[in-house]
Every structure is written in structure tokens, then in C-alpha cells.
């Protein structure tokens, strides 16, 4: 149900916030286009001859293998933890999403080292375990770090949708496995697809992992062109190709969901009756749900902790820690303001605000390297404009420093805040707005007294998610950071790419230690919200 146009336009129109969010997320990407076609495209041929094919091939192979890997890890674990009861189920269902706190490049450092000559896994298997590197190694690392997206979304689908459908299938003669294949899985397909789309976008946006494991993809190409070769046109072109690819994935997923959204409303949720497993099958379930957590989190953390304890740091990580905390918390605050504004615009604004917010959502598909280049292109355009107006006294804005970095983060992550803010607001029925207004509350009072208290959980979730994402971000930070500005991610990457893994261990560990409690908190808050909404129904 939407508000009528009379209700909508009385008072302040929130539409500009939606438009602002859309601009924030799309301008940098748009600014890339003139930069990419700056000298007529003579570079393209050269690009194709040299690198493009290998970037594309690596990207595609890694994406396909990662999708298969995350599906195999994410869907069965989600099914086991929602439908069955076995010892440790509660703990495991909280632990399974936690590898999200592990930046994949850090998992790559740890796994390469653990499986190389002299590493614990290498020794333990007498060298039979292949070293984690190259295309397969990258896919392995992405699978164990990104499967939580598939796990979380399919779990939510298994929990909330079609419990009755599953039971109906059982009463109509289907065995549990047949009911899973014929009913539950098809019903969860949109959610699983959404999880897969996130996995693909994250994989394509990654720079640290593929760079370290020696399988260059588009992001590596962009950073090489920009930093090593000083060739902004080539970088912009690669960035555009990457952007189009991620937008296609993003758009494709949205489109497929549109077709199924009506069909998804298959009934109210009901407390689940979990089936207890016999001791043999329980053991199997425990194994299935433990391995991803061990591979994605425990083993690398344990290994890095040992390295960090054994090595005296050559440089104090305090500066990097401060840098990370500064940009992550500022970005979280800005993102929540933007996200909340956009969600509000979507809730109460007209069609133009709605469309703007849809567009802003696409920011999620903008990889960090692309966002960073776009910000640079935008600033360069703005600079030349200022120069023509002010002449020689024009202030210098290109370069931009921390502000430019924060802008790029917003272009990439503001969309991550819009989602949770939207769903938090969406849970407040419009009848409550009307009830409050009829009781004499002004529009602002409705926001302050009804919306904010009810949506607080979603708002905090949004802030925490953006905090973690910014903290882990590497390529945009590499491109845009001022020379004297360091973050934990950049520091870890520099040490690791200089083959000084022991030195990379400490900043890596600090990153995980920051991210882990936040992820636990987010996971707890999300499950609480889910319980509440199930209770509401």
C-alpha cells in the first residue's frame, strides 16, 4: 500500500534526498565515460592484444568456480541448520555467517602460506594438498569467504517461506528430500540467486586476492594501468567494462526477482518444527556445517595469530588502525544518513523519488576501483570547470584527499545502507503513520516518535554493515588515499605483496578482530528482527 498523493505531498517532500542518493551512486560511474573515450579509443586494440583476454578469462573462470563453491557450501548448510536439530546447531548457525568478517585477501595470504612448502597444511598432508594459488586457489578463497551471502539469504528463505508448502508436499506423499527438491528449493531460488549475485559482484570487485594469488582480473588491470603505467584512459576503459559486467549481473538478478516476487508470497510463517537427526546423520550435519567455518575463519585466524605472536612488528599498526577507524566510522554515519533519507524518499515520495532510489541501489554493483576512478574523473572535470571560471586563482580540488575517498566509499556502499533502512521502514505499516497523524502528530513527530524507534535496529544494522565493508575495502583506498594516509587493509596488502607475510599478520588480525564482533552483533540483531517479524505475523 502506498500513501495517497495528498498525504504524500503535505509537508516536506523527501524526493530530493532520493535524487541525491542516486547522484552520489551514479555520478562517478557516469564521469568515467568521457575519460574512457578521451583519445578516441586507439588504446582499445592495444588493450585487447595484451591483457583484456586474460583478464576476462580469469574473471569468468573464477566467478563460475566461486558460484559453484558458494552454492555447495551455502545451501546445504542453510537447509541443515533450519530444518534439522543436531548438537551444536544453534552455535553453528551463528558461526556460519562469520567468515564475512574475513577479508578474502587476508584469507588468501593465510591459505597460500599454510599450503606452501613449510606451511602446516602442506606438512600435515605430506605435500599432497595443492598450494592455494592461481585461478583455482582464488576460487577456493572466494568460496570460503563469500558463501555466507548464499547461506544467509537461503536460510532466510527456508525459514520464512513455504514452511506450509513443505509440509503440504510431505502430506501429499513426498519424502523429505523430494519435498526439498520439488518445493523448498524452487521457492528459495530467488533468494539463492540474490546471494549468488552478491557473490559474483564481490568476486568481480576484489583486487587484493587475485593480485596476491597471481590471477589478474579487471580490477588488477585497472590498478596497474592507473598506478604503475599512469594510463588513466586504459584504466577508465577497463573500469567501464567491469562496471557493465557487474551491472548486468545486478540487473539480471533484479529482473529475475521481479518475475517471481508475486509468486513468493506463499503464506505466513510459522514456528519451524526441526527434525532431530540420528547420531550418524547428526555427525554428518555437524561436519558439513563446521568445515566452512574452519576453512573460512578459524584456520586462517589461528595461523595469523601464531605469525603475529612470533614476529615483532617493524612498524606500529596504530596509524593504520586510526585511519581505518576514521574512514569506516565516518562512512557508516554518512551512509546511514543517505540510506535513511533515500529509504524515506522511497516510502513517501512520488514515482521520481522511487526511481531515483532504485537507481541508487545499483551503486552496490559499482566495484571499489571503478568508484575511485570515477571520483577522480569527476574531480578532474570539476577542476577544469573551476579553472575556466576562476583562472589562476582557482582552488585545487583534484586529488581531494580523504573527502574524495569518502565520496568513493559512498558511491560503492551507500546502497548497502539503503537496503536495511528500507526494510526496517517497510515493516512499519502506513496505518501507523495515519494513526499517529490522526492523533495530532506532525510529520516530523511521526518520524521521531514512530519511525526512528521502530526502525532503530535496521538503522544500526546498516551502519555496522557499511563500517565492516569500508574497513575491508582495498582497491578504492589504494587509488585515492593521500600518501601519508594508511589503513589496516592497505598496510596488510603492502606487506603481503612484498612477501613479508609475517608482518602482514598483525594488521590482518586487527582487521578481523574489529570485524568479527561487529558481524556477530549484526547476525544477532538480524535474527532478532526476523523473530520479531515472525511474531508480528
Amino acid at each position: 500500500m502506498k500513501l495517497s498523493s495528498r498525504e504524500r505531498w503535505r509537508g516536506v517532500s523527501p524526493a530530493p534526498i532520493g535524487i541525491f542518493a542516486a547522484l552520489l551512486c551514479t555520478l562517478p560511474a557516469i564521469a568515467l565515460i568521457p575519460m574512457a573515450i578521451a583519445d578516441g579509443g586507439s588504446h582499445i586494440g592495444h588493450l585487447i592484444d595484451t591483457q583484456l583476454t586474460s583478464y576476462a578469462l580469469n574473471s569468468i573462470t573464477i566467478v563460475v568456480m566461486t558460484v559453484i563453491g558458494t552454492l555447495l557450501l551455502g545451501v546445504p548448510t542453510a537447509w541443515l541448520t533450519t530444518r534439522y536439530n543436531f548438537p551444536g546447531r544453534g552455535l553453528l548457525s551463528v558461526a556460519l555467517p562469520l567468515p564475512l568478517a574475513m577479508p578474502s585477501y587476508i584469507a588468501a595470504y593465510a591459505w597460500l602460506s599454510m599450503t606452501s612448502n613449510g606451511g602446516p597444511f602442506h606438512d600435515l598432508t605430506n605435500g599432497y594438498m595443492p598450494t592455494v594459488s592461481g585461478v583455482a586457489g582464488a576460487a577456493f578463497v572466494f568460496s570460503i569467504c563469500l558463501y555466507p551471502y548464499v547461506y544467509l539469504l537461503s536460510r532466510q528463505a527456508f525459514e520464512s517461506r513455504g514452511v506450509n508448502s513443505y509440509e503440504a508436499a510431505r502430506t501429499l506423499g513426498s519424502s523429505p528430500i523430494k519435498a526439498f527438491w520439488k518445493v523448498s528449493l524452487p521457492l528459495a531460488r530467488p533468494a539463492i540467486m540474490a546471494g549468488m549475485a552478491l557473490v559474483v559482484m564481490e568476486t568481480l570487485a576484489d583486487y587484493g586476492t587475485v593480485d596476491f594469488l597471481g590471477t589478474p582480473t579487471f580490477t588488477v588491470g585497472i590498478l596497474r594501468a592507473w598506478i604503475s603505467l599512469g594510463d588513466p584512459e586504459a584504466a577508465a576503459r577497463l573500469a567501464l567494462i567491469l562496471l557493465v559486467t557487474t551491472l548486468l549481473v545486478f540487473g539480471g538478478e533484479r529482473l529475475s526477482r521481479r518475475g517471481q516476487s508475486v509468486a513468493e508470497n506463499g503464506g505466513r510463517s510459522k514456528p519451524l518444527q526441526r527434525v532431530s537427526l540420528s547420531s550418524h546423520t547428526a555427525l554428518f550435519a555437524i561436519l558439513c556445517c563446521t568445515i566452512p567455518v574452519i576453512f573460512g575463519l578459524i584456520a586462517p585466524v589461528w595461523y595469523l595469530a601464531i605469525l603475529a605472536l612470533e614476529t615483532a612488528p617493524v612498524r606500529s599498526p596504530v596509524d593504520a588502525l586510526q585511519g581505518t577507524l576514521l574512514v569506516a566510522s565516518l562512512s557508516a554515519l554518512i551512509a546511514v544518513a543517505v540510506g535513511l533519507g533515500a529509504a524515506y524518499a522511497d516510502r513517501t515520495g512520488g514515482w521520481f523519488a522511487n526511481v531515483s532510489v532504485r537507481v541508487a541501489h545499483a551503486g552496490y554493483a559499482v566495484p571499489g576501483a571503478v568508484a575511485a576512478l570515477g571520483v577522480i574523473a569527476l574531480l578532474a572535470a570539476a577542476q577544469s570547470l573551476i579553472d575556466t571560471v576562476f583562472g589562476s586563482v582557482a582552488p585545487l580540488i583534484a586529488g581531494g584527499g580523504i573527502i574524495a575517498l569518502l565520496f568513493a566509499y559512498q558511491a560503492r556502499f551507500a546502497a548497502a545502507a539503503i537496503g536495511p533502512c528500507e526494510s526496517a521502514l517497510a515493516r512499519i505499516p502506513f496505518t501507523m503513520d495515519r494513526a499517529a497523524r490522526s492523533l495530532g502528530a506532525s510529520r516530523w513527530a511521526v518520524i521521531r516518535r514512530i519511525h526512528v524507534p521502530l526502525a532503530l535496529g535496521g538503522i544500526v544494522t546498516a551502519a555496522l554493515l557499511v563500517f565492516v565493508e569500508v574497513m575491508k575495502e582495498l582497491p578504492a583506498t589504494m587509488i585515492l588515499r593521500p600518501l601519508d594516509f594508511e589503513t589496516l587493509a592497505v598496510s596488510a596488502h603492502h606487506f603481503a605483496s612484498d612477501e613479508r607475510l609475517t608482518q602482514a599478520a598483525l594488521p590482518s588480525l586487527l582487521l578481523i578482530m574489529l570485524g568479527l564482533p561487529i558481524m556477530i552483533l549484526v547476525s544477532w540483531m538480524m535474527s532478532r528482527q526476523q523473530k520479531e517479524s515472525a511474531f508480528d505475523e
Binding site: 508448502s165 509440509e167 510431505r170 501429499l172 506423499g173 519424502s175 521457492l187 506463499g266 503464506g267
Partner: protein, 346 residues
């Protein structure tokens, strides 16, 4: 031959320290509709889910004539019980068309045969022309019909209906109850209907069981239950009832609204008098001992509230056209078959 398709005896189930099923016995008989009526949260749905095999019990048994289905340890899974279950929200598979939903439970025979059978089943609920439609394009009533056809298609021995009509508006509900009853009678299955709607329960049921707090407090044909409730709780479940509790004197209960004799009760023993509003007959009398404090026009009758000298109020239904107005003094008498007395220890 025993016609019991399913017998449940001594079912006990606790959940979070509360007894949701407290020693429940129920028989489901071929060709007969059994209804369980009770307020929300009394364990009706749990009983149904236990019979379906979707939940186990702490103790007690569910069995067919020759097979144990549930006894706290044994739990034959739902797919091996030959039951049909109709859910409150219908639980149609959103990714399958109406006909594919109905065909879902059909496994034997060629696909042409199964299709034909499914079409016949859809025809019996007047849904054959929407066979290819997807659930989200169907109205609530149509979804309900498809859900019923889907449950009946595999020829179940038992059909279980969980608040199956409560999602529909009043007019549609009446219409669908008729359709459902016809289709159920045709199928010859034993039927269990779980509902909180007294009218629905009495309309559907051959045998009615009243359930409160996990216990079946009374069961029998609906008419017997309505006319001879064994407790105030039973009487209230089936409709509005006036009641008065007091001591027995000289074999009679002397309420402020009138006196009735009570059998098998000793003096000073506490007992309750229950009179349905339509059994409280008012007579115009300027020197009467009851005051009319309110009248409401209900269409088919008038609802009248009378107040006794003690301040207690009862309600009565009188035919329209009767000249009762607020402020009049009246006397009351009770229609015998709408009046019941029970000792308070019952």
C-alpha cells in the same frame, strides 16, 4: 468391521512447560466429519499436526486399525499416512499452476491419467476452467478450492482441515463450506475439521469435540452439545449463554431471573443455571421484577438486556414486532430445552 480410520488415545504433548495436548482421545470415522472447536491457542492445530505426522507427542498413541502411527517413539512420516491436509493459508505451491498443484500428490498411472484425475477433482470444486492459472492470480476462495482438490486428489483415507475457511469473508465462507462438504462426502474419507468458529463447527460436524486448554471437555453430536452442555465452558464455546451460579434450595435453583428444579443435587450444593438468550422468554408485566435496560435491533430478532433487582443482567432474543422498550418492567420464563443446570463440581 471397525469403521475407525484413525484412533488417537491419551495424547499428551507439552511445549515450553505448557500442556498443549492433555490426555486427548479422538476417533476419526470413515465418511464422517469430526470437528474440534476451541478458542485460539488451545492445541487444536497441534492435535491436527500430530494426526498428520508433522509433530510427535510426549505420550499416547495415534493408530489405524492395523498400524501404529505415532506413540512418542514411533513416528510414521506424513507421506506414508495417506492423509490430505488443507491449510489455513492454503499453502499452494506458488511455482506450480492449479492443475500441477493438484497433480503433485498423484504418482501412479500415466501423466494423461493423472491429469484427467486432477481435472475431475478440480471439476468437483468448480475450478476446472482455471486449471492453468497460478495461485497468485486466484482469489482467496479459488485458492481454497484448489487446495481442497489437491488434498482430495490422491484419495486419502483421512482429510484434515486446519481453520480452512477462516481466511475468507463471511459470504464466501458459507458457499465454500457447502462445496467442501459435498466434495468430502463424495470422497468418503474420514474428516477432521479444526476451527474456532462455532457456527462452522456445528454446520460441518457429524461429531463435535470441544477443546479448551489442551483438553477435550465434551464431545457428541452438535445438537446435543448445544442443548445439553455439561459445563459453562462448553455452553460458551457454542454461543452466547446467560448463567447464574448459586446454592440449591429444596431441589431448586432460585436465580433472580426465575427458578428451575435441579435433579440429583443436595441442598446448599452450588450449581449453575444456563439459559440461551433465545430461551429467555419475556412477558410484559407492569409489576414485573425485571427491568429492560437496553434493546438492540438485530434484523431477525431483537436483543434485549434485562436487569434483576440484584443488578445482574441477562440477555434475551425476542421476535421482531414484539413491543419491548427500554424502561419497561417484565417477567421472564425459560424454554425448557434451551435451559440447563449443572452442579458446580462438574
Amino acid at each position: 468391521m471397525n469403521d475407525n480410520v484413525i484412533s488417537a488415545t491419551g495424547l499428551i504433548k507439552s511445549w515450553r512447560g505448557r500442556r498443549v495436548l492433555d490426555n486427548v482421545d479422538i476417533d476419526l470415522v470413515r465418511g464422517r466429519v469430526t470437528a474440534v472447536l476451541g478458542p485460539s491457542g488451545t492445541g487444536k492445530s497441534t492435535l491436527l499436526r500430530v494426526i498428520a505426522g508433522l509433530e510427535n507427542v510426549d505420550s499416547g498413541q495415534v493408530r489405524t486399525a492395523d498400524k501404529l502411527l505415532t506413540d512418542g517413539l514411533v513416528l510414521i512420516p506424513p507421506e506414508r499416512r495417506n492423509i490430505g491436509l488443507v491449510f489455513q493459508d492454503f499453502a499452494l505451491f506458488p511455482h506450480l499452476s492449479a492443475i500441477d498443484n493438484v497433480m503433485f500428490g498423484l504418482v501412479e498411472g500415466s501423466s494423461t491419467m493423472r491429469r484427467e484425475l486432477a481435472l475431475r477433482q478440480l471439476d468437483s470444486v468448480q475450478m476446472v476452467d482455471k486449471a492453468e492459472a497460478y495461485p497468485h492470480t486466484l482469489s482467496g476462495g479459488e485458492q481454497q478450492r484448489v487446495a481442497l482438490a489437491r488434498a482430495l486428489a490422491p484419495g486419502p483415507d483421512v482429510v484434515l482441515m486446519d481453520e480452512a475457511f477462516s481466511g475468507l469473508d463471511a459470504k464466501l465462507r458459507v458457499e465454500l463450506r457447502n462445496t467442501a462438504l459435498n466434495a468430502l462426502n463424495e470422497s468418503g474419507a474420514a474428516v477432521l475439521v479444526v476451527t474456532h468458529d462455532a457456527e462452522e463447527a456445528m454446520f460441518m460436524a457429524d461429531e463435535l469435540a470441544l477443546m479448551v486448554d489442551g483438553k477435550i471437555i465434551q464431545s457428541g453430536p452438535p445438537k446435543d452439545l448445544y442443548l445439553a452442555p455439561q459445563s459453562l465452558a462448553s455452553a460458551r464455546l457454542l454461543g452466547e449463554v446467560n448463567s447464574w451460579t448459586g446454592p440449591v434450595r429444596d431441589g431448586k435453583l432460585h436465580s433472580p431471573f426465575g427458578s428451575v428444579s435441579i435433579e440429583k443435587a443436595e441442598d446448599n450444593q452450588s450449581a449453575t443455571l444456563m439459559v440461551r438468550p433465545e430461551g429467555l422468554i419475556l412477558v410484559d408485566n407492569p409489576t414485573g421484577h425485571l427491568d429492560i435496560v437496553e434493546t438492540r435491533f438485530l434484523g431477525a430478532s431483537i436483543a434485549i438486556t434485562v436487569c434483576a433487582v440484584t443488578g445482574e443482567t441477562w440477555s434475551s432474543r425476542m421476535p421482531i414486532g414484539s413491543q419491548f422498550r427500554k424502561g419497561m418492567k417484565v417477567d421472564a420464563s425459560f424454554t425448557p430445552h434451551l435451559t440447563t443446570t449443572v452442579r458446580s463440581d462438574r
